[in-house]
Symmetry: C2
Subunit: 159 residues, 2 copies
DNA sequence: AGTTAATACATTGCGCGCAATTAATGTGTG
DNA sequence: CACACATTAATTGCGCGCAATGTATTAACT
């Protein structure tokens, strides 16, 4: 995706420096890299950390609901949850009302991790820098882009 | 990474809705998903598309330089380039001056892809929506975050 | 010249993301 | 009840990202 920042002359749309998406992509990779040393302390990957965040707040949730919150599917979550189960941080039970659904819970060890995790957000805030306004705006623009990309809608384009 | 958007009350830093990084992560995943149908036409993945963008502009480049531009290493690029070579879009020669360095070129078929690729940026712009100002700002904030995350610098934190 | 160090790339291994398919359970309808 | 259909997860396969390690080539130094 390109933006025109030199409207007076023809801009190559297929140039890296004009690609918003490449900036997004690179920033996300850098962000996940920056999380790694912090999350190594908890023996978690970034996606696993996201899952734990949900489970800390909403124990007993299903894989489906977890997937809706994280925008991930069972192809990603099932093996990830098995790894968390192998680390004994999460239990993967089954609902009694509906044998199809997994009921996810944090174990005692998983609950203890929450204490250690409390310092992570502030440490990351230091790493990314920027003002709170910058961060709020970045979040808002990402959420807006996400919403558009997920609803097949198209703006004033040719249709 | 969390932001405080309700300063009057205690905000859980480990809540998904307060995580800038989760928004970034989800937006990037959505963006790559949105590229997929467009790039399927060119039989390219998004990272392969990025590589082609660089090679269209700078034929004869090395793996190292390519990696610096895309912020990727040989562990990612070597197999990716082999796949592009298998599709006969790219050739992986060797420098005559230094037998270690790979000299990357686009094949004739690869050059032809450039024509097809020209419509991709505008199609993506339609999908993400938002004003040009929004997009420019999103790019700027991502670039800023990337720069901070890649230079071990820390802002006014405890150190 | 000979040893050491640095450089460029390749390889291995692991954990995602996700499309596509399958399996098991549940629901609804005649 | 029988059958079609939907729903929930699991499975398979592939392509990244990246850490860690290996290998071949070049550079540097004495």
């Amino acid at each position: 995706m390109s933006i025109k920042n030199a409207p007076e002359q023809a801009v190559n749309p297929l140039a890296l420096e004009n690609q918003v998406c490449f900036s997004l992509y690179s920033a996300t990779n850098a962000m996940i890299r920056a999380y790694r040393p912090l999350l190594d302390e908890l023996s978690l990957t970034y996606p696993q950390y996201l899952v734990m965040m949900v489970l800390w707040k909403e124990p007993g949730i299903s894989v489906k609901t977890l997937g809706e919150k994280l925008h991930l599917d069972s192809g990603t979550l099932t093996p990830l949850l098995k790894r968390l189960e192998a680390k004994e941080l999460v239990s993967r039970g089954r609902s009694e009302l509906d044998e199809r659904v997994r009921v996810l819970h944090v174990t005692e060890a998983g609950r203890e991790l929450h204490q250690q995790a409390l310092t992570v957000p502030e440490q990351m805030r230091c790493k990314v820098g920027g003002t709170l306004e910058d961060l709020a705006q970045l979040k808002q623009l990402c959420d807006q882009a996400f919403a558009m990309l997920n609803s097949g809608e198209a703006t004033s384009c040719e249709m």
